[in-house]
Each structure stands twice: as C-alpha cells, then as structure tokens.
C-alpha cells in the first residue's frame, strides 16, 4: 500500500499538483471542520497541509484521522492539489497546495505536550503560541521536543552550514583537522579544571581540556604546519548567563607565519561564516591597539556600531580653579568626556543630574559626572560658573560642540576609573537613546595588549604564558617595566563582543624561561607544570601562532539568537545543570570505592606537624609577617607554647572577674573638639623617614589588586 517513495513536506510545490505522494512526519496542528479535517504535517524540510474529507478519503481513513492529536508521528498518502482561491496560507512555503489524503498510518502516538511546538498558523493572520513564555528549564527538560520546532531546527541546520564552511575553507588553505585528548593533565593556569578520577591510579586525576593550547603547539613542533580542530573545551568557571561549562572552539595554529597571515585567514573565514547568515562583512577589518580602544571607548572589546568616542580633556583644565578638578589633577588624575551630538532634547537637566550624575554614574564606580548642555553657543550646567571663559571656550572647541549637544565628562584620579565608567556610560546612553543600529556588524581587531596584568597575587599573563612579547630586552625582576611590555596577541571583536583571540607564540627556550621567571615561577614549578611541554622546546621549534574562536558565540551572533543555548543542542542551564539528564548527579558508593575516592574527606590528615604548619602559614598571612629561612621551627614550637598557656589561662580564670584595662574608656577618646591636621604632615616632614616617596605621596608597590 505504501511504497518506499517519500516526498519531503517542505519541498512539494505547484509542479507536483496532480501527483500521488507519500509524506511522513509529525502532526504540527489540526483544524477540525466537522466532516473535513485539516492537518499541518511537518518534517525537517517544512510543513504541508493534508486534508481528510469523505469526498476523497475512505471512510476507514476518516475515522482513523479523528484519533490524531498534535505530534503524532504519521505516514500519509494522497494527491497533491492546488488550494481553492482564498484559502492559501502565506505563513508556509507550501501555502498554495495541499494533499487530499487517501491513506493514513499512525506510526507512533504522542502524549499531551508540555508546551506547544507548532510555529505556523493554519490560516491567515492567526496567532501561534510563543515559546518565549515557556520556562527555559522546561524547554531543556524536553529538549528533544524543543528541538522539533522549525526555528530551532533552522538554527542547527545553519550551524551545520557554518561549521562545514569552516572545514571547506580551511581544507582549501591546507589545514589538517586533528583531534587532541579529552583526558589530559590538570594545569593550574587559567580557570578551574573539571577533573576525572583515574581508577587505575587511585586518587590521581585527569583533567578535561580548557583548550588544546599545549597540544596544538606540540603539533607545530611535530611539523603539522597548519592544524585546526573544532575542539570541545571545559572550564569550571563561575556561572554567567551566557556561559557554558563546555563549549566549542575553533582552534587554529600555523607555523612560519606572522600576524598578517592570521588576519588574512581569519577575516576571510569570518566573512564566509557571516555570509551564511546573510550578513555581508567588508574587509579588511579595522584594527585598534588595546590602548586606543581603552582611550576612545573604555573597553578592550569596543562596540563600534555607534560613535560617542571619548575626547581627552585633561589638559583643558590644567590651570582650573574648580576645586574638584583641581584636586583630581593634583593627584595625577585625568578627565575625559563624550559629546552626545544633538541630544539635548532627550537629556534634560533633570535626567543628567538626578539620574546620571547621582545614581547611574556612582553605580558604575565613579564619584560623579560633569555635564553640560550646549544652548546656542553657551554651555549650560549646574557648575558651569566655576569654569573660566577660556576653559568654556576650550571645551566647546575640543568637543566640537554645537547647539543641541550634550557634553558629559568623568574626572577621577584613576585613569582606569575614568575609562571604565565613561565606557559603561557610552553603552548606557547609546542604548537609551537608540543610537545602536540594528543589522549592523562592525568587526575590529584589538592588538598590542599588555603582556602582563597586575593582580593582588602578583603579575600574571594577560593571555597565557606562551604569548610572544613585543620586545625581548626586559628584566624579569623589574615589575614596573614588565607591565609596559606588549604582547603579539590579537582579539577579534564584533559589536562589542569578543569572538576569539590568539597570539604569536614564543618559540625560543630562553625567552620562555624568562617569561616564567617574570611570572614568579621557579624552575621546579615550571618543570612540574609544563615540563613535558618545555622539553619539546629542545628540538627545533618553528615560529608559530594561532587563534581560537568561540563557535557558540560566533554562531549565536550570526543567527541573532538571544543566547548561546539556542545554538547548542543539549546545553546546561544557567546553573550548569542539565534538566534533561539531571547531570551532574550523585554516583553510587561502589563507583566511588572503585575509584578510591571514598576516604578522601576522612581523617587522613597526618596529626601534629602538618596542622601546625598550616596554622603558622595562616597567621603569617593575617598578620602579614613573612617567615624567613630557618625561622619556621622556632615559630612552630612557640605555637605549641601558646596552646599550653591558653589551657592554663582558661582552666584557672574566674568568669566573674572583669576584663582588666589600664585606662578608663573616656581616656581613650581624643580630647580636641575636632580633628587637627598634624603640622608635621603640613610641612611635609612626615616624608623624611619614608623608604620611598613620589612627589607628595608615599610610594608603594604598584599593585593593590
């Protein structure tokens, strides 16, 4: 009865009218007109309307059709017919035709659905249930149903196209796709690892790769010259809305190349990928150095779809009498601003002062914001009277201010505060005033990042320790100087989102060793962490470099989806949990036992020594007193004494005794009615004993945190 010929629902058209066809798929929607039953039948290719009517369907089939419900999986046979005038459906591709059913087979029934799947109305103008309102965890729990939705299928078909275009392009360019291990070694760099216990080596662990960085560089040592991989990477990072514990990264590495090669390769690749989403990017992509980006947009991933670039204004106020600016400049600060062209209608005094200056800007972390509205040729502001005529003229000229403009400025002793806060304001204002054009894509390469970053723990690599510096004549012990080094790295940013980045790597053993020194890693630490990798540097390492693109992000941007979860088949939710499989989950005692993980939390701490050592380290930290070589044992011994003394005190104390104090409470209060500035400070004498002074300030280590 039903032959092997199967037509795809979405591919039938007017040319098929009169043909007998068989289609298979799911019941997308039903419309019951008494004797006549209309059904939208859906397969991957699309939707077609099938009609059951006593006119052409056998009575048995009509009867069977009354059983149909949404998402039943069925086979239907019938003749393709043109719809009668006025009944066409513009919502579906096949809206001009329908199938007059002569046979129906129910392949599989469906329970009532947790949420609607159908996205196509059966008649003109009718609305369909939106999945937007459905709880995302419910969608993820029934992800297999969620993925039946045509829009979701479209996402994954496009994803496939994009991935295929990558493979095709890189193949053309002579790249070899190679896989690297998923079970690998834990490295203490970067984010937290996901660990996998080893059964064969109890209490030893593999780690899932955070990226194939070391392996891809080793493949360069191996002479692969051009390698790529669509690599799954894993990072146990803090949860953020648009982050997944595992993600796909296009990993590229090539030998005997420089930055220009990477730009050329990746720009062409990006153009091809975006084209699949009907987005045309023009080449070459502009480039900005890290400091250019920071100084003009306040971000190292600038959104260039709109202007609102920063204007440097520090020098305009070098002789100012306006107290706040004067103080800030005296402390070495800076002043930058933005001219919001022609927006004074939308940015009233009230909005600028009460919303921005008083609430939004302090929330971003600056003390305040200076604003001025340009009315005719005059500046209008709550503080404009504090600026001299020259200063006002200077502002107008520098900001190229015209009637209707609004100038905002941030001043702060910290350059970082000024750029960060002004950068956030730039985005906030652009969003608020609708200055961000839709359907515009502005790629940019950000280059010349600082090689190192200062943190509370010391100097760390901004990228990773294998990134080549811009120059090699540095002293690994000179922190101030190290912080001025730039790296040969690059980030690809589109519309304010970092899609990927990479660098030219170090291929010189001595240079690599000095970088590790700068990071404060001892030879033994390096050996322990990267020994296998450094060893490879002994055997002829080609100059090489590469890049990694976060594919989930790239695809989400090309497809314009609301989150990267829309382009991942089975994602974790925002809490890194999978509502479908309920992973992560507890495991059986037997599994733990087999892995030797049962007594890990037990009392395996060696009594005595170790614990006391920890106590000493803790006290060393809280009281900020380091322990020199040979001192530890004395201190450990003294700790035993403290415990003994505490026992005596606590055994013999009488609780009713008051706590002794040599002074009365009133005496601890300063007698002067108000604080007085110490004359020694006023005369600058307090600096005479300082180990290091810079101007009128005590000089300290450059990094707070």
């Amino acid at each position: 009865m039903i032959n092997g010929e199967r037509s795809n629902c979405g591919q039938l058209n007017l040319y098929d009218v009169g043909r007998d066809v068989t289609v298979k798929g799911w019941v997308d929607a039903l419309r019951d007109h008494g004797e006549v039953l209309f059904i939208h039948l859906r397969d991957r290719s699309g939707i077609i309307q099938v009609v059951f009517s006593p006119e052409f369907s056998p009575a048995k089939i009509c009867e069977r059709a009354t059983l149909l419900r949404n998402e039943f999986c069925i086979t239907v046979t019938g003749r393709v017919a043109k719809r009668s005038e006025g009944t066409e459906n513009p919502h579906i591709e096949t809206g001009q035709i329908e199938i007059m059913v002569t046979d129906l087979l129910i392949l599989s029934r469906s329970e009532t659905l947790p949420f609607p799947i159908s996205e196509k109305a059966m008649v003109v103008g009718a609305s369909v249930g939106s999945v937007e309102s459905v709880n995302e965890d419910l969608r993820l729990q029934y992800r297999y149903l969620d993925l039946r939705r045509p829009s979701m299928q479209e996402n994954f078909i496009k994803r496939h196209r994009i991935i295929k275009s990558i493979r095709d392009y890189l193949d053309e360019q002579g790249f070899i796709e190679a896989e690297t291990p998923i079970l690998t070694k834990s490295t203490p760099e970067g984010a937290r690892d996901y660990l996998v216990p080893s059964r064969v080596y109890p209490q030893h662990f593999y780690a899932l790769p955070q990226s194939p960085q070391l392996f891809k560089q080793l493949l360069m040592v191996s002479g692969f010259e051009r390698y790529y991989q669509l690599a799954r990477c894993f990072r146990d990072e803090d949860l953020r809305p648009n982050r997944q514990p595992e993600f796909t990264q296009l990993d590229i590495e090539a030998s005997f190349i420089d930055e220009e090669y990477i730009y050329e390769l990746v720009e062409e690749l990006t153009v091809r990928m975006f084209k699949i989403g009907n987005i045309m990017l023009s080449r070459p992509f502009p480039r900005m150095t890290y400091w250019e980006a920071i100084n003009s947009t306040g971000s190292d991933r600038p959104d260039l779809r709109f202007g609102l670039r920063f204007v440097e204004a520090t020098d305009l106020f070098k002789n100012t009498t306006y107290g706040i600016f004067k103080q800030i400049l005296y402390r070495g600060g800076c002043i930058k601003g933005i001219n919001i062209k022609g927006q004074s209608d939308k940015l009233s005094k009230n909005v600028l002062q009460n919303e921005y200056a008083k609430q939004i800007v302090p929330g971003f972390g600056a003390k305040g914001m200076t604003w001025m509205r340009v009315i005719d040729d005059e500046l209008e502001s709550n503080i404009v009277q504090f600026f001299s005529e020259d200063e006002q003229k200077g502002i107008v000229k520098r900001f190229e201010a015209e009637h209707g403009d609004v100038i905002i400025m941030i001043a702060d002793p910290s350059h970082e505060v000024v750029t960060t806060v002004l950068g956030l304001l730039r985005l906030h204002i652009a969003e608020r005033l609708g200055l961000i054009p839709g359907d515009t894509y502005c790629p940019v390469w950000i280059t010349d990042f600082p090689l190192f970053e200062a943190t509370e723990e010391g100097i760390i690599s901004n990228h990773h320790p294998f990134t080549a510096p811009d120059r090699t004549d540095f002293d690994p012990g000179d922190n101030e100087n190290l912080l001025t080094l730039l790296s040969r790295s690059y980030d690809l940013v589109i519309n304010g989102e970092e899609l990927g980045g990479g660098s030219i790597r170090i291929n010189n053993k001595d240079l690599q060793r000095r970088i590790f020194q700068a990071l404060g890693l001892s030879d033994s630490e390096v050996e322990e962490k990267f020994g296998f990798f450094i060893n490879a540097f002994n055997y002829g390492v080609p100059p090489h470099g590469g890049l990694a693109l976060g594919m989930d992000r790239v695809i989400a941007m090309i497809l314009g989806t609301s989150s990267i979860r829309e382009v991942i088949t089975f994602p974790k939710n925002r809490s890194a949990h999978c509502p479908l499989t309920q992973a992560p989950s507890p495991v059986s005692r037997e599994q733990l036992m087999e892995l030797g993980l049962l007594d890990l939390a037990g009392e395996t701490v060696i009594p005595g020594g170790e614990k006391e050592r920890d106590m000493v380290d803790h006290l060393s930290w809280v009281s900020r007193i380091g322990i020199n070589e040979g001192e530890r044992q004395h201190i450990v011994d003294a700790m035993k004494e403290t415990a003994r003394l505490a026992n005596i005190i606590n055994e013999r104390v009488r609780d009713e005794e008051p706590i002794f104090s040599v002074t009365t409470v009133t005496n601890r209060v300063r007698k002067e009615p108000q604080a007085v500035r110490n004359p020694l400070a006023e005369k600058g004498e307090i600096f005479r004993n300082a180990p290091a002074v810079k101007g009128e300030f005590f000089k300290v280590a450059s990094i707070l945190e």
């Binding site: 200062a454 943190t455 509370e456 010391g458 100097i459 012990g477 922190n479 106590m615 000493v616 803790h618 006290l619 060393s620 930290w621 809280v622 009281s623 900020r624 007193i625 380091g626 322990i627 020199n628 001192e631 004395h634 201190i635 003294a638 700790m639 004494e641 403290t642 003394l645 505490a646 005596i648 005190i649 606590n650 013999r652 104390v653 009488r654 005794e657 008051p658 706590i659 002794f660 104090s661 040599v662 002074t663 005496n667 601890r668 209060v669 007698k671 020694l680 004498e685 307090i686 005479r688 004993n689 300082a690 180990p691 005590f698 300290v700 280590a701 450059s702 990094i703 707070l704 945190e705």
Partner: protein
C-alpha cells in the same frame, strides 16, 4: 668604648637649663625615646633609618630640668628583653649618672641587678609615654637605673606629671615626687611564700639571710601568700604578645622603616618587608600574639580577667603590710642572652608582676649583702607609693654605708 655603650652620642648637646634640678647630671636614653633629629631605630629594622621628628615629653622635661642627655644606649629589639642592652653599663662605667630604660617586664631592675645598681620602675601612668616607641603599651613605662635612690628621685620628679598628649594616662592627680621621706620605721614587709619556693636552695639561703638583715634593721617581716603568683608570667605572655602583635601593625614599610626589595604587590610588600623587619625573637612573640588575636581571642580576654584578679589580690595584701619584698631574679647568667620566649620569661618572672599590676618596684643592689648567688632584693608598694619605696631604698643604702 663609647660606641660599645652608645648607639648615638649627641655631639653638640643643646643648651641646658642651668637653674634646673638636674643641672650638672648626665643621663642616657634609649633609641626608642624620641629626640628630634636623633636616629630612633628602637633596635629594630622595623624602624631602619628612622629619625624622630619630635621630642618625647620626657625629653622636654629632662631638658627643662637641666640634665645633659648624652646619647642613646644600645637596646634590644623594641625593648623586648635585654639582649644587647647597655643602659646599666653606661651608669656602671660612669659614662652617665642615670640611665632611662624601657621597662615592660622588669628590664630596669634586672639590668641594675647585673651591675650592682638601683633599678626603679615607677607606677603606671605617672610619666607621659608620648614619644616612647613601645611594644606592650599596658605594661611598659620609663624605668630608671642609677647609683643612688636620690638620683632616681630627682629624675622621677623631673619627668613625672600629666600630659594631654598621652591619652593612656589615668585622670588622676599625680602626687608630688621629689622629697625623700626620713624613715623612722621601716614598717611591715610582706614576703610572698610562692616566690621563695621558686628559688634554688643556695638562692633561697641568701634571700633568707637578706631578710634577717632587714629584720635586724627594724623591718618586720611577715609571710604572705599569693597562690596564683605563677599566673603572672602566663598572663603577661598572653597579653604582652597580643599587645605586641597589635602595636607592631604600624610597621608597614610605607611611612618609615625597612622596605623589602621587589615586592610585586601590596600584600607581598607587607609580608616581605615585615619578614625582614623583625628579629626571630620578636617575630616569634608576634606570632604568639597573632594566635590569640586571630584564633583564640577568648584566651586573651580570660588573661585580662586573670590580670584584674591578680591586681585585686595584690592590693589586698597591702592591707596588712606596707611593702612587699621579692627576690629580683632567679637567673644570673642568661640576663643578656635570651633566645626564646621562655628564656626571656625565665629572666623576668619575678619582676613582671609590678608591670602587670602597675605598681612601683625597686631593685636594691645585691652587693648590699655581699653575696654572689644573691637573687637581689626587690621592693614593691601600692600604686603611687613611689616615694615610700624610694625612701626605704635610700634608708637601706644609708644603713649599708654606715650613716645610720
């Protein structure tokens, strides 16, 4: 010779007040007592290259009294114990008439005992500590080492008095010092049995002999008991280390003191600088204090309760006696040679009760009785009974010299 005794000698002593009570006398101070422009390192790298910016109140008062401040003697790190301390040596060799010594556990008395001198610890709170760089604020004061009680008396008169700049001084009227009483009767002297029990047999014998001499000279000896005497040492260690840990917090290597090379960030700057700033003995003490401060604060509070109790019990003793008498020390050979916290407390365990209770105490030289194993005699009086003690000491000295 001078350099062995003095860490700094004032090459051009400032104008002295020729009408002052101390005119013609010379005195040494320690490098933790501030004189504007003088190196003031307090024996510690934590104050490396520090020169005081102001005069301490005591220094101002000494200048007013017309004394010549000759220089600073060497001192132990931050005045903790007597390692390297040369104050008593300065007096014994005649370099100066009087030496000031930071006294937080009995340093003046013990130092004096090593050179046959008088060592005096005044009542707590009668001398301004403004300008004194200390370690254990609630225990310490200026101690005075001299050849005679009279010299101690006139120095005390010069330096005692209220000072608005010292916020720790109790609000009370400080009695007039300066006039030694003519002792008619030595009164009743209490001997704490628990202290005598701590002595070696030979020391005990010498101490008894000294008591007999006092008895012969008209002092009524009465045995008293202070069952918790052993707690003085324990509580001092707990409270002292916590106060030290707290007061050493200011040594951050930013405003003054030693800065370690090449710190990567602020925390490392603190940790490395402070690692290098403190010697092992003080550092160990600071770790002990940090333990109670951060890990076991209840014990610190309980130690303060015990201190209140000991103060109360000591005061109760004076209801039946006029002065207390204790041996000054048990150890002779380790006074200047202490390498652990225990070593330090072994040296001072008989003198630190006065620092704990804030009472005055004086060491009367052991040679008074001419015995080498002599543990020395230490008198204590109720708080503000300083003149009574000095008068007794003066009287006993006159007895020794045959004047009486």
């Amino acid at each position: 010779m001078n350099k062995e005794i003095f860490s700094y000698i004032d090459s051009k002593p400032s104008m002295v007040n020729k009408t002052g009570s101390l005119h013609g006398k010379s005195i040494s101070i320690q490098p933790n007592m501030s004189v504007r422009g003088w190196p003031t390192e307090a024996g510690s790298r934590a104050l490396e290259r520090f020169a005081a910016l102001e005069d301490a109140t005591v220094v101002e008062n000494l200048r007013t009294a017309g004394v010549t401040i000759k220089g600073s003697t060497h001192m132990s790190e931050l005045g903790f114990g007597l390692i390297g301390d040369t104050a008593a040596q300065a007096v014994a060799t005649g370099e100066v008439d009087v030496a000031l010594v930071t006294d937080s556990m009995g340093e003046a008395r013990i130092a004096a005992s090593s050179k046959n001198l008088f060592g005096f610890k005044p009542s707590f709170g009668i001398i301004s500590r403004y300008g004194l760089i200390g370690l254990i604020p609630s225990m310490e004061c200026y101690g005075i080492v001299a050849n005679t009680p009279l010299e101690i008396t006139i120095v005390l008169e010069a330096i005692a008095g209220t000072d608005d700049r010292d916020y720790s001084m109790p609000e009370e009227v400080i009695p007039d010092f300066g006039r030694l009483e003519d002792i008619k009767t030595l009164g009743t002297c209490g001997v704490v049995a628990e202290c005598v029990d701590m002595l070696e047999p030979s020391q005990s014998k010498a101490f008894s002999a000294a008591l007999s001499r006092l008895d012969e000279n008209g002092m009524a000896i009465q045995e008293v008991s202070l069952k918790d005497f052993d707690l003085f040492r324990v509580a001092h260690n707990v409270i002292g280390s916590v106060e030290a840990s707290s007061s050493c917090g200011k040594y951050d290597s930013v405003r003054y003191g030693h800065r370690a090379q090449s710190a990567r960030n602020w925390n490392e700057m603190y940790i490395k600088s402070r690692a290098e700033s403190f010697g092992l003995l003080v550092k160990t003490y600071l770790f002990q204090g940090a333990y109670y401060q951060f890990e076991d604060y209840g014990t610190f509070e309980n130690a303060c309760r015990i201190r209140a109790q000991l103060v109360r019990e000591m005061e109760a003793l004076y209801e039946t006696i006029d002065v207390l008498i204790l041996p000054t020390r048990r150890k002779n050979d380790t006074i200047y040679d202490t390498h652990s916290i225990d070593d330090v407390y072994d040296v001072f365990d008989l003198t630190l009760p006065a620092n704990m209770t804030g009472q005055p105490a004086i060491h009367i030289p052991g040679s008074f009785f001419g015995r080498e194993t002599d543990p020395g005699l230490q008198f204590m009086a109720p708080r503000l009974g300083d003149m009574r003690l000095l008068s007794v000491a003066d009287h006993l000295m006159k007895v020794r010299e045959g004047d009486i």
